[in-house]
Amino acid sequence: MSADALLTSALEDYLETIYELVRDQKFARVKDIARARQVRAGSVTPAMKRLADLGLIRYVQREYIDLTPEGEVEARRVYARHQLMTRFFGQILGVEHKAAEADACAMEHSLSAEGMDRLTRLFEFLDLCPEGKSLLDRFHQCPLVHGGQTTDCTACSWAGRDDQCQHLKRRSDVAVSELKPGQRGRVTHVNGTGAIRQRMLDMGILPNVVVEVERHAPAGDPIWIKLQGFQLSLRRKEAEAVLVAAL
């Protein structure tokens, strides 16, 4: 007989508490349970009676409570679910720990079995998929998460990856290739990959550096720029990867 349908949220919580206590101390006493749940001992006793009727706990001696094998199974399930929810709020959504716990407690009893299943699979995906970690990190770094605006993506490091996100450009940002001779700009992003990007970084083309376009070659390519006291030429394609805020 599944104890599912007969377990109320409150009972599930009790079971969870007993599980934690038993894990740490071998047995749980009524007063430990009361303390852990921050209720009066008097409220604990009827709940224990109910759990005992369901065959999930037993009294070892008058005061000490232990889980039956069935109880163990149930408790584990409840406990795991709680952990999952806490993780969801804490690690995935990035909610602060105490609030995460509270939210987990609030939500864990109202999820359907399918909902639980799906959520578990989401975690598995984020753990196993090579892109999963990156996705999660990206989410955490996104200024949107930290209360920023959708257009305020200057701090996103993924502007520098293979999949250059055009929409991440600030409205005032232009590529060095678009500057006319004599125009200056302060570098905001250095996109590109591989040897080319590394060479640009090595040469000192970094965010916050001011560059000035000196001239273009015939046909507009390559481009001659000045920065930090020396002068460089960049191919148009390389210059397209350097975004500046026009000055």
Partner: protein, 683 residues
């Protein structure tokens, strides 16, 4: 004073354009040797000097902007530093571009190398008003700081002193501070490297590279104990850092390096250089690099260079010619008149004629190298590359390929040698391999013979022009093909520094000029000598009575020519041309001489002799077959000097053989298609 048995091994590192090589020359003088790193086109320059009785071996590392692992130059520099334990690493820095160069110093210090900071081009920095507290800098970094002016040889003794003072010091803790977060991460990764085969002093550098996910160093580390752990830790730290600082690790690390350097300079740079220090140079650039004017000015300059080398070189050329002729006669005179002694023939017709034929170009070559050295040292070469890159890049080449290729119109040998200015291997090789397609001066003697023989006066200039054009077009197309197939690879960064114009010192130009001319001469002395003898052998033996044309026919060369005939037929050619072609391998001018012999014309370099030869040729060939021959000669037959120089500059026989094989096939194909289509159209 007897030399101590301990040798101090010194390496010179630094950015390209920092004057490193001049400094190397000043340190080592004549005691140097230039080769290649095995299998790559990167030059290996080694030398030595003596100081206080101790021998110092100096290695001039390839110029690099940082110790990353992307280009062959950087990888070689890194390998040398990590594997071959140099006692001292001198970091040569352009004093006017301190920030960037000090980043390289920081990276080198992380490898645990015992460094000396050499502030080169100190005169320019002083002239720009820059003032640096050298003593404080030295104290902060823990390395000696020396000022030098490499191309004038100033400060070199001080440099030697500084090197000796640190030479056998124990490596101390790195003074490079990259910020709390990064330093912590480096230490965490470094922990896992303890007990691996990697020496302790390398750990900061290796740890940094692992954080950067450098595949070469990951490979290296993986092989040893604790490697996987170190790599794993590096990955963890990397993720953590990237999440914290919201940028990718490569950018963050570079910012940390610059942060360190900025901190150093804030304390030690008492007076920064004036903003307008480059004013004159910039004004010159407004003309020379002008969007519309730049190119015409450059082409005019190249034309002037050619004009100079060929006219000014004319007179010394005549001297050398008569000199060798005189040598030939006096050696011949050692035997009685009419003697058919093989030794006499070997010496006079083989050695003296063969070697002389190449040495006679020496004045042109020397002048050409001088002009190239001037172009390079003034900084104008970089402007030329800037102007030409768009076109060159279209065909898989580099802006810097332009000057070597133009040089090839004079002679392929200096042109190929000039490809050293190209920083990246694929660009260098592609340029080198297609260079012989630039119709050289020697081929011009053939065009001058054949074109008037077969074409009416009003067609002569267009035909000549079309040959040159064909060469250029084929060179570009072939380069494109190479870059898509054999030399496929990521485009090397073009990001190229444009140094201020500098007045080259006579000393630097002369050193460059003589070094390269000497190389050219040595080719004459070795490879060409050997091949001249070989050529003489196969064209002289076996003999037929009466000598002359019949003799040539009977010789090995003649027989090979005959054997080639079936292959040459579809090109509209015959064995006579085939035999002459064999001689052309030695040097193009020999082709004309050999034809002369076959047609029993004798002196081909007089106008009358040439005309007689033309008449005979007209009997045997048509304009169509003549054109086919010229195409074949343009494409298929790089001379042996070219082959020898390609082998040397590319570092292996593979490329030289690919060059000759590929070009021969291409030449054959083009001539074939041309001739057969011509036959179809004209009949």
């Amino acid at each position: 004073m007897a030399e101590s048995s301990v040798t101090t091994r010194v390496a010179l590192a630094g950015n390209p354009n920092s004057g490193k090589t001049s400094l190397f020359n000043a340190l080592t003088g004549a005691h140097q040797h230039v080769g290649n790193y095995a299998g790559v086109t990167v030059e290996k320059r080694q030398g030595r000097y003596s100081h206080n009785g101790r021998r110092h071996d100096v290695l001039d590392l390839p110029g690099t902007y940082s110790l990353s692992s992307y280009t062959p130059e950087e990888r070689i520099a890194q390998d040398e530093l990590l594997d071959r334990g140099h006692d001292v690493v001198v970091v040569v820095v352009d004093s006017t571009a301190l920030k960037r160069s000090l980043v390289l110093l920081a990276q080198l210090m992380q490898t645990g190398a015992t460094c000396v900071l050499c502030l080169n081009m100190a005169d320019e920095a002083r002239h720009a008003g820059q003032q640096l507290d050298r003593q404080l800098l030295s104290k902060l970094l823990g390395v000696p700081v020396v000022e030098t002016v490499g191309h004038r040889g100033q400060g070199v003794d001080r440099l030697r002193e500084a090197i000796a003072s640190v030479a056998h010091r124990q490596p101390g803790p790195s003074r490079v501070v990259l910020g709390e977060r990064l330093d912590r991460a480096i230490a965490a990764v470094g922990l896992h490297l303890v007990g691996s085969e990697i020496p302790d002093e390398h750990h900061p550098w290796v740890a940094t590279k692992l954080l950067l996910a450098d595949p070469l160093l990951e490979e290296r580390v993986r092989r040893g104990p604790g490697g996987e752990d170190a790599i794993g830790e590096a990955a963890r730290q990397r993720r953590s850092i990237e999440a914290e600082v919201a940028r990718d690790i490569a950018l963050y690390v570079m910012e940390c390096y610059y942060g360190f350097v900025d901190g150093l300079l804030r304390q030690t740079l008492v007076q920064p250089p004036r903003e307008d220090a480059r004013a004159l140079s910039d004004r010159i650039d407004s003309v020379l690099a002008h969007r519309a004017l730049g190119l015409p000015v450059f082409l005019a300059a190249m034309y002037a260079i050619f004009w100079l080398t060929f006219t000014a070189g004319e007179i010394p050329m005549r001297w050398i010619e008569s000199g060798f002729a005189a040598l030939g006669s006096s050696v011949a005179g050692l035997w009685p008149v009419g003697s058919s002694s093989p030794l006499r023939s070997l010496l006079v017709d083989g050695v003296i004629a063969g070697v002389g034929g190449v040495v006679v170009f020496l004045p042109n070559i020397v002048l050409l190298f001088m002009c190239l050295a001037l172009l390079e040292d003034t900084g104008y070469m970089a402007r030329a590359a800037f102007l030409m890159d768009r076109v060159m890049h279209r065909f898989g080449l580099h802006g810097r390929s332009f000057v070597p290729m133009i040089t090839g119109f004079g002679c392929s040998v200096p042109g190929i040698m000039a490809t050293r200015t190209l920083e990246h291997e694929h660009d260098r090789l592609a340029t080198m391999l297609v260079l012989p397609l630039m119709s050289c001066g020697a081929r011009l003697t053939i065009w001058m013979l054949l074109i008037p023989a077969f074409f009416a006066p009003r067609w002569r200039a267009p035909v000549l022009w079309s040959i040159y054009l064909a060469g250029i077009v084929l060179a570009l197309l072939l380069a494109l093909l190479l870059r898509r197939t054999v030399l496929k690879g990521e485009d090397a960064p073009f990001v190229m520094e444009l140094p201020p114009y500098r007045l080259p010192t006579a000393r630097a130009v002369v050193v460059k000029m003589t070094e390269r001319s000497w190389l050219y001469l040595r080719k004459a002395g070795t490879v060409i000598l050997a091949i001249s003898i070989l050529m003489w052998l196969i064209t002289s033996y076996p003999k037929a009575p009466g000598g002359g044309a019949a003799s040539l026919e009977r010789s090995v060369a003649g027989r090979v020519g005959r054997a080639m005939e079936p292959a040459l037929g579809p090109l509209g050619l015959d064995w006579k041309v085939g035999t002459a072609l064999i001689g052309a391998f030695a040097a193009k001018e020999v082709f004309v001489a050999q034809l002369g012999i076959i047609y029993s014309v004798g002196e081909t370099d007089t106008d009358r002799g040439a005309e007689r030869l033309r008449q005979k040729l007209r009997r045997d060939y048509t304009p169509l077959s003549a054109m086919s021959l010229m195409l074949f000669l343009l494409i298929a037959t790089p001379c042996m000097a070219t082959l020898a120089v390609t082998r040397r500059e590319s570092g292996s026989w593979r490329w030289a053989l690919l060059q000759i094989g590929g070009l021969t096939l291409l030449g054959y194909g083009v001539a074939l298609v041309f001739y057969q289509t011509g036959r179809l159209l004209v009949g």
